[in-house]
């Protein structure tokens, strides 16, 4: 194949994948009142307006809370699980792996409905708590998988040596294992954060009046209002995700872990 053909195919594909974003960025920078492209004059007023919409601020705070603490909780129980699955010859390890991975396989909307009907309502759990639990469960498979793969690359004899030299098993874990897998843990955190922050289907049924995650708030906002503020917000969120991933890639070669 000639170079021209190669770049023609790649150019078309990438335009299809990324072009729409550039359009959103510009549509959000419109000076007009309705969503159009090309924008009617350029201004940053919609980008500024996003920060003044109260429901966006509330839902952004909730999404941040869920993404940070849901992922941290998932890591808190996921790291020991990954360690156990990698370092102990557990009978039934495959079963444990399948159970922990299950939330990825089941469609999100089913997860949300199931938790609403058979967890939230019978146990009278608050919506925020329900969202927290759901997001933790959804992020856990990624935490276990990414940490597992970085444990796989770390030879077990290092810990054994530490134990022989007088460390307790726990000290060996903290002093030898943790420092060596911190790149994997950070990668798992970023992947979990992005997954949780962008999650919609599972949170759909668990969102109540006044308690909504940001993407769901955007969905309901665009049903009512047809102004460029959602375009501006979409562009800002895209920048945020890209910036996080870019920094992670530069710092630790994020893509190795995913």
């Amino acid at each position: 194949m000639s170079r021209l053909t190669i770049w023609l195919i790649l150019g078309t594909t990438l335009t299809f994948l990324i072009g729409p974003f550039l359009i959103v960025i510009f549509a959000g920078a419109s000076a007009g009142e309705t969503l159009t492209f090309p924008p009617q004059g350029l201004s940053l007023k919609w980008y500024a307006k996003v920060f003044t919409v109260e429901s966006f601020r509330d839902s952004f705070a909730l999404s941040m809370f869920l993404a940070i603490f849901g992922t941290l909780t998932a890591l808190l129980i996921g790291i020991p699980a990954a360690y156990a699955l990698n370092r102990y010859n557990l009978p039934g390890a495959e079963a444990i792996r399948t159970i922990v991975a299950a939330p990825i396989i089941v469609p999100g909307i089913i997860v949300g409905l199931a938790l609403l009907r058979y967890f939230v309502v019978p146990l009278d759990v608050t919506i925020t708590m329900a969202l927290f639990v759901t997001h933790t469960a959804l992020v856990l498979p990624y935490a276990v998988r990414v940490v597992s793969s970085s444990l796989n690359n770390l030879r077990a004899d290092m810990e054994e040596a530490a134990v022989i030299l007088g460390c307790t098993r726990f000290q060996a874990f903290v002093k030898v294992v943790l420092p060596n897998i911190r790149g994997g843990i950070l990668a798992a955190f970023i992947l979990g954060f992005v997954t949780s922050f962008n999650e919609v289907p599972a949170s759909l049924f668990l969102s109540g009046p006044g308690v909504r995650t940001l993407p769901i708030d955007m969905l309901s906002y665009m049903e009512i209002t047809f102004d460029p503020s959602v375009a501006a917000l979409s562009a800002l969120l895209a920048f945020m995700s890209v910036a996080i991933v870019f920094v992670a890639e530069r710092l630790l070669g994020f893509s190795r872990y995913v």
Binding site: A27, I99, V200, S234
Partner: protein, 274 residues
Amino acid sequence: MFLNRSEGFALALPAALFTFLVFLVPVGILLSAAFQAEPGVWSLQGYVDFFSESLNQSVFLRTLKLGILVAGTSAVIGYAAAFCIVNLPASSRGRIFGLVVLPLMISPVARTYAWIVILGRTGIVNDVIVGLGLSETPIRLLFTETAVFIGLLQLFLPLMIISLVSAMENIPRDVVPAARVLGASWFQVFFRVILPLTKEGLVIGGTLVFTGALTAYITPAILGGSKVLMLETLLYQKVNVSNDFVSASVIAMILIVMCFSANLVLKRIASVRS
């Protein structure tokens, strides 16, 4: 490898127990509700009722059709794009691959919203159509199957490309030139060399794209609305509009069965070819 098993179980227990209790148990109960049209009585009545409505039938068939179309189209584009990426010089390969992966990190709401700007009444496509005089008034492009198809394709194409690129990277570099030198046409090169060597990647990518398209909520909700329902949006309606939890459970069961069988069928096809 440590031998103290109870210690190992203790470490794995919180994660397993957590997922089991807050995830598997509720989902299990929900799925079992699909077999109880009346509480406590086990039957397939829920399925009979569901499929006897013509709306439900057409939504089911549309979901299946869109899933297959999106997976098929992304396989065709994916092979072309992946082949190009693998043949790029090392310096630009990483960067181009990064651009393919990039959209996956961005919120699906933002990604789908872009198509409103493009396909809406005052969007770019309609501006061009009206501007060129092809139509007097804007054409309805949103809330059509085509819009949902385009949205889903854009959402899931990267998954196919990634799977195929990693499969193709394992083909020894000189295999394709060797086949060409020995007289194979590009057509033969693809079907006799590339396809057999990358079918595992195709199975993984195909499963990801098909199940992704089947279970996407945002795209059919934004680009299809209530005019072009898919199973996910229908499930949402059954719950929030008609309070029909039996049908919702039936849809849940159908979705899960479709996802699992897609994987099995693709694996079977791949193993027959060899």
